[in-house]
């Protein structure tokens, strides 16, 4: 019996090892090498600088040191030892922020073992994505080539999915790549057309009542007003929601869900961000009244109801803008298609959103909504030197994203897509040469 157990244990070990081997071999040999930290001041000169927060600076200079912007403008005095990058004829834009992504926790959709999005059970406020973030993900460099400098990696599933984190799109390991942990607590609002809707909301309210009571007790212990208590790691994780230091990010799309979620967050006194927001245009007054910002997920999609106009989703950002609702555009979570983020914002431009607002929706607005406004979203002194050198607006298709800097580091632009192209262009060349010789 003992032998048998040992044998089956060994089989499991072997199986696990072979799976690990399989995953390891699936990881590209051509992974990009993270850039080293900025060692001397760098000035990008001669470029049209789109600060986003302020005016366009023609023929301007962007100066940054230790990964932080120190000056933006014209006629800037450069400190001694400044490395000058001539970007004449180019444009400089803030790096894009993917406000809703599964970057680093999702590699290959149909290979479950490479996907770390949904934890078991419906209440997981304690799980933190940055701790499971795979810095070797092939999708990181591809997203970066599309101009994304930060992905807000977001867990999914259940009722309370866990905590999202803002992850830098360059670096050796998850700790140094974590720009901000605990960006938001993800709550998936129950489906309002299900019979179990009321019951599910009761569960949610009960959970928050318990968490509130837990916090009260913990504060009492801290203040010496009560005896020691045992720790509940899940309720512990929810404490920050009640002092306003972490927002609750509620995924809701249908009009009932959105309204009920706003009412609930108000009742609970929580800072709420709406994620999804398909029907948000129907309830703009309520969103404004409660200052609820929206992270629109898909824009490049079709309406959910036959009667809605074919462009209902393309027009949604303009509708929110006109109503004065604060919003960001995030697209789908799938990190393999993070490259589509700029086009999600672009689509809104063809359907009524101004160019300025469209760019802000993937830069400054997500930064502000997600509490990253002091670091990202615009080109201003004191913010991270995470920006793009391009030949045009990064959300226009024809634009080439020529160089990405993340916290002052010059990123490797040779992502897997590009490498495949180079490598197999060589195959074409060789074979054409062969047949020409034959």
């Amino acid at each position: 019996m003992k032998n048998l157990n040992r044998r089956s244990f060994m089989q499991i070990v072997k199986a696990v090892l072979s799976m690990l081997f399989f995953i390891w071999t699936a990881v590209p040999a051509e992974a990009q090498t993270p850039a080293s930290a900025q060692s001397s001041p760098i000035a990008i000169t001669g470029a049209a600088i789109h600060t986003v927060s302020g005016d366009l600076i023609e023929n301007g200079t962007l100066l940054f040191e230790d990964g932080v912007i120190t000056a933006v403008g014209v006629d800037i005095e450069l400190p001694a030892g400044t490395e000058v990058v001539d970007a004449s004829g180019k444009e400089v834009w803030p790096g894009l922020i993917d406000a809703y992504s599964q970057m680093g926790i999702y590699e290959i959709g149909a290979v479950n073992l490479t996907v770390d999005v949904n934890e078991q059970g419906s209440v997981n406020p304690n799980v933190m994505v940055e701790r499971a973030f795979n810095p070797e993900s092939r999708h990181i460099a591809v997203a970066r080539s599309a101009g994304i400098v930060v992905s807000v990696t977001t867990p999914g599933g259940g009722l309370v999915s866990g905590q999202s984190a803002a992850m830098l799109m360059d670096g050796w390991a998850w700790d140094s790549m974590t720009l901000k942990a605990g960006v938001g607590m993800i709550v998936n609002w129950p489906n309002a057309s299900q019979n179990s809707y009321s019951r599910n909301l009761e569960t949610l309210r009960d959970l928050f009542a318990e968490a509130r009571a837990y916090r009260k007790a913990r504060l009492a212990v801290e203040a010496g007003e009560a005896a020691r208590m045992d720790i509940d790691i899940r309720l512990e994780a929810m404490m920050r929601l009640f002092d306003g230091t972490m927002p609750v990010v509620i995924s809701a799309n249908e009009v009932r869900q959105i309204q009920d979620a706003v009412t609930w967050a108000e009742e609970e006194g929580l800072r709420m961000i709406l994620l999804g927001g398909r029907d948000a245009h129907l309830v703009t007054e309520q969103l404004l009244a409660h200052s609820v910002p929206v992270i629109l997920t898909e824009v490049l999609t079709s309406p959910s109801r036959n009667w809605e106009s074919f462009d209902a989703r393309y027009r949604l950002p303009a509708q929110l803008y006109d109503a004065g609702v604060q919003f960001a555009i995030a697209g789908i979570a799938n990190p393999a298609n993070a490259n589509r983020l700029p086009y999600e914002a672009g689509a809104a431009m063809a359907f009524g959103l101004s160019e300025e607002a469209a760019v802000r929706a993937v830069t400054l607005e997500p930064a502000r909504i997600l509490g990253l406004g002091d670091r990202l979203g615009s080109l201003e002194p004191g913010k991270d030197a995470s920006f793009l050198i391009t030949d045009g607006n990064p959300i226009e298709y024809a634009t080439q994203i020529e160089q990405v800097y993340i916290q002052g580091r010059k990123s490797d632009m040779n992502d897997m897509h590009r490498q495949f192209y180079e490598r197999y262009s060589e195959k074409v060349r060789q074979m054409q040469q062969d047949s020409a010789q034959r």
Partner: protein, 989 residues
């Protein structure tokens, strides 16, 4: 030895007979035995001559005899008329105030077929359980729980019994619906073969699993039936030297359908299925009957010229759920409209000059049959037509007019007795007579306690007046007055057959304690009863009627006027059209940047002239022909209509997974215009699409090229001179279907394709031998093999789903082994790895802009795929494989500009090259003289994120216009509002 046999057989026969005897004994009291059954016990001979007098007799639709007499004798009508004398031996039924109608006939029912045998395991069956044509409704008829009582209650005296399972379900038979033995009720056998266009799920998950497979199997089976008859004839004429052809009972039965004109009765579940049935008729010259779905009003332009027998359902759709405003938001216009229009279906079919019959099949609650019928009459169906659809029409259709359908001398005595007009809401069916036998449906009460009664009682305790009235329909109440005291009765009830009356009241005011309970035997004007009083002796009482209540004529239900004006649109849903857009003789688009996608390249400030739906000229400052529609497109761009090489929208079912090799299935069979995506795709400039089979099979089905002619019928979408194409699939998808289907590895995928190719070569050789010599039995036409031969001969172009480079290479090499070429690889996530090999083979690549990593075989994706392939000389196209992305293919191409392609090359990926890879470049893909006038006017550069399609034209007709779209949106909003309001009004009525 002999003794043993006797003993054994004696035992056996006893075993066999016992249940039979039991059955006979048990069934005796409830029904009369068949004519051939020996009498057990006493012979029953009830009188069989009946005269129905003083009745309103509707002898047939439109012929009414007032105050007439109907005489029946031995189950047959002897006389009917105003001056018919009542025979001396007749039992007389005074039907003063009643109306007699001919008995109704249901030409589509599952009476006797509710509990069908699923597994057939005896005899010479078809290989496929869905083919059960040899079954007959008469042999399969199961009396127990056959549902005839429900039909009878609604006035039906006969019904067509339709076997319920399979694609070919078996032949149907007419049964009368009385309580005689089944064998005495069979009116007409083998009336029609029943067929369905969708598979029955009862047989598990085998071929066919989809509507495409179902139609393919129907097609193959009808070919087989013809072949079967021919092969057996040939063999029987001279069997010498021949291998006996297979025996197959279903195919033998279908000979009647393909050779002798036996009708094929299709139960169609949508208007698309009507068209599918008609296409089968066209291919095989069979005689279809259609059991409709209630959506026929959407197809009257087609049906009115078809003269196909129609059987329309008496069912009506459920009311859309608009309980809350949010629920209402989620209701589709198609359902809202159908809710309102379905009651008009029969009226509209009638108004277009078509004859039809009604069926109750599909009415979920049998008490709704007459209600729905009346609703349809209220919606405009003439009463005579409605009655004909229940009587003369089905009788004629089923070939039983000499026995049923009208009340005429010599016909079967089958009729309905009602207490009023059939079409009045308040009228009820009292009885149904079937073959001269009486079936009570509803009794009229013999005594009526309502009215005033004067009570006298022993001791005078209860002397007074009793007043009984109806408090609400079916509920009695009243008062009892004793002296000056009026007491409200607590409960009042009466039972008709026992002739009993009961009432309770609180006796306190009469100084009687507790509840006083009255009970009495009641006759027309008198009651005789006693009262139970707590603490007292029983009080005996009697009452005489002092007044009766005039039964008030119940007001017929006030019906809401049907005053909503809903235009006839196609498809009958959001954004549907009242008619096809007109085609101006000439359309001239002026001053645009024209992307010709031909040798002229991109022309600035150019004009495009489309005449009679074709591109006539592209150039500068073209002369406008007289009467031309001129569009000033200054600042705009014009491109050819976009083409998507790979979509799956607008079809009912995508994959036939019942077999690994299914090139016989055809997507063209299952096009469905009720497809909002088509409109959305038009709005994004898409004009042509290649609608493909799914990827579950190494060799899948045949695809279809369609134009986005929103508002046309499904077959009008098809590009009829496009070459045939067939879907192949390699890699993960075809090997992961089910657990035990071959193949399960990429090795097996390769080998099963090779095997079928070889089979096809052999099949082709057999046919060639037979054609050359004409000796032996004719080979069977096998549609699967035909398709495979077509593939090998490049008449069906291979469009193969693929991911990895190795499998792409494999299929090219395999094709080369069989001496033909693969037309294109779709998805081709790793196509860039074998670009030189693709170029050399001459295969194209149809790829995504940027999909990848959703499975392991898609992990090595690159957005430079199309660019590299193009640079390597491979004909390259983009595709969406996604209904939504298909609506913005210009932006898919635009991504390729970021990947480094020139704008014109990027545009070719969704226009000119796509057309070449699909074999339709003689029609579409560029704006060159002679090509179809399919073009898009864009607000700017079509590859910019700032640009949207303003107009989309197909063959010189404008199918989408940005401004018209706004108007349509407003019209939809208005119509939804009206319909939702109407539902609320009706629900509050």
């Amino acid at each position: 030895m002999a003794q043993f046999i006797t003993a054994a057989s004696g035992r056996v026969s006893l075993w066999l007979c016992l249940p039979l005897i039991l059955l006979l004994i048990l069934s005796l009291p409830i029904k009369s035995p068949a004519q051939t059954v020996p009498v057990e016990g006493m012979m029953e001979n009830p009188p069989s001559v009946h005269a129905f007098t003083n009745a309103t007799i509707v002898t047939e639709p439109g012929r009414i005899i007032r105050n007439g007499t109907l005489v029946i004798r031995k189950g047959v009508i002897e006389a009917v008329g105003r001056n018919v004398s009542v025979p001396a031996d007749a039992r007389i039924w005074d039907l003063d105030g009643k109306t007699i109608y001919p008995g109704f006939i249901d030409p589509y029912s599952e009476v006797g077929q509710q509990n069908p045998r699923v597994e057939l395991d005896r005899g010479t069956l078809s290989w496929n359980p869905q083919v059960r044509a040899h079954l007959t409704a008469s042999a399969e008829y199961e009396e127990e729980g056959d549902g005839r009582a429900d039909l009878r209650k609604n006035g039906f005296v006969a019904a067509l019994s339709v076997p319920s399972l399979g694609l070919f379900k078996g032949s149907t038979s007419v049964f009368s619906l009385g309580d005689e033995a089944v064998s005495d009720r069979l009116v007409r056998d083998q009336v029609a073969q029943a067929a369905s266009l969708t598979r029955s799920w009862a047989f598990g998950f085998g071929y066919p699993t989809s509507p495409i497979g179902a139609i393919a199997l129907i097609r193959q089976t009808l070919y087989d039936a013809g072949w079967y008859a021919a092969a057996h004839e040939r063999f029987e004429s001279n069997p010498a030297g021949l291998r006996r052809p297979e025996a197959n009972a279903p195919l033998a039965a279908l000979r009647h359908v393909v050779r002798d004109g036996m009708p094929l009765l299709f139960d169609v579940t949508s208007e698309e299925e009507i068209l599918r049935a008609l296409r089968i008729r066209d291919e095989f010259s069979v005689t279809p009957w259609l059991r409709g779905s209630g959506h026929e009003y959407k197809l009257l332009d087609v049906l009115s010229s078809e003269r196909v027998p129609l059987i329309l359902p008496l069912s009506l759709p459920a009311t859309p759920d608009i309980k809350t405003p949010e629920d209402a938001l989620n209701e589709d216009l198609a359902d809202l409209r159908h809710w309102y229009l379905a009651p008009e279906n029969a009226a509209r079919v009638a108004a277009s000059g078509l004859q039809f019959s009604f069926t109750t099949h599909g009415v979920d609650n049998s008490t709704h049959v007459l209600r729905n019928l009346r609703e349809m009459v209220h919606a405009g169906l003439p009463q005579e037509t409605a009655l004909a659809a229940l009587t003369t029409n089905p009788a004629a259709l089923l070939g039983i007019s000499r026995m049923y359908g009208t009340l005429e001398r010599g016909k079967s005595a089958g009729f309905v007795v009602m207490d009023g007009d059939l079409f009045e809401d308040t009228s009820k069916i009292l009885s149904v007579w079937i073959d001269g036998k009486y079936y009570r449906v509803q009794s009229e009460p013999s005594v009526d306690p309502k009215g005033s009664w004067e009570i006298t009682s022993s001791g005078g305790w209860l002397d007074g007046d009793l007043n009984v009235r109806e408090t609400r329909p079916g509920r009695l109440g009243g008062t009892f007055t004793h002296g000056d005291t009026e007491i409200t009765l607590a409960t009042v009830s009466s039972e008709d057959q026992p002739r009993r009356f009961r009432a309770d009241f609180a006796g306190d005011e009469l100084e009687l304690t507790g509840m006083v309970r009255l009970t009495a035997s009641i006759s027309e004007n008198r009651m005789q009863g006693w009262a139970e009083v707590p603490g007292r002796e029983r009080i005996q009482w009697s009452a005489v009627r002092t007044a009766s209540v005039e039964t008030e004529e119940r007001e017929p239900r006030e019906r809401r006027a049907r005053d909503l004006q809903l235009a006839d649109i196609r498809p009958a849903m959001e954004y549907g059209r009242e008619q096809q857009p007109e085609q101006p003789r000439h359309v001239l688009v002026r001053n645009a940047t024209v992307w010709t996608m031909g040798s002229e390249g991109i022309l600035e400030n150019a004009d495009l002239l489309v005449s009679d739906g074709k591109v006539a000229e592209v150039g500068e400052s073209l002369r406008a022909p007289r009467g031309a529609v001129v569009i000033n497109a200054e600042g705009r761009h014009v491109t050819p209509g976009l083409i998507d090489a790979h979509i799956h929208s607008g079809v009912n079912g995508v994959n036939e997974i019942g077999n690994a090799i299914v090139p016989e299935v055809r997507m063209a069979d299952v096009l469905d215009i009720n497809n909002i995506w088509m409109y959305r795709q038009l709005a994004g400039g898409l004009t042509t699409a290649h609608v493909m089979h799914g990827s579950a099979n190494p060799i899948g089905g045949q695809n279809v090229h369609v134009k986005m002619k929103w508002g046309a019928l499904s077959h009008e979408l098809v590009i009829d001179d496009a070459p045939g194409t067939v879907k192949f699939a390699l890699g993960e998808n075809p090997k992961r279907v089910g657990t035990d289907r071959y193949p399960e590895t990429r090795m097996g995928v390769e080998q099963i394709i090779a095997d079928r190719f070889q089979n096809a070569r052999d099949y082709e050789a057999r046919w060639n031998e037979w054609r050359a010599t004409g000796t032996g039995l004719p080979p069977r036409r096998d549609l699967r093999m035909d398709a495979l031969v077509g593939i090998l001969n490049e008449e069906l172009l291979v469009q193969s789903h693929s991911y990895r480079a190795d499998e792409i290479l494999m299929l090219m090499r395999l094709a080369e082994d069989f001496d033909f070429r693969i037309k294109a690889f779709h998805h081709g996530v790793e196509a860039f790895k074998v670009a030189p090999e693709l170029a050399e083979h001459g295969a194209g690549a149809v790829v995504w802009s940027d999909w990848g990593a959703f499975k392991i075989e898609a992990y090595d994706n690159t957005t430079y795929n199309a660019r590299l392939l193009h640079e390597a000389g491979v004909l390259t196209s983009l595709h969406s494989d996604n209904s939504q992305i298909a609506s913005r293919m210009n932006w898919e191409a635009a991504k390729m500009v970021r990947a480094g392609m020139s704008p014109e090359d990027a545009m070719s990926l969704i226009t000119s090259t796509t057309a070449k890879l699909l074999g339709i470049d003689h029609r579409v893909g560029s704006l060159e003289p002679g090509k179809d006038g399919d073009f898009v006017i864009w607000s700017g550069d079509p590859l910019s994120t700032r640009t949207r399609a303003e107009q989309t034209w197909i063959e010189g007709r404008k199918y989408f216009d940005m401004d018209e779209d706004i108007v349509l949106q407003q019209a939809i909003a208005r119509e939804r509002e009206l319909l939702i309001q109407r539902i609320m009004e009706v629900q509050n009525d």
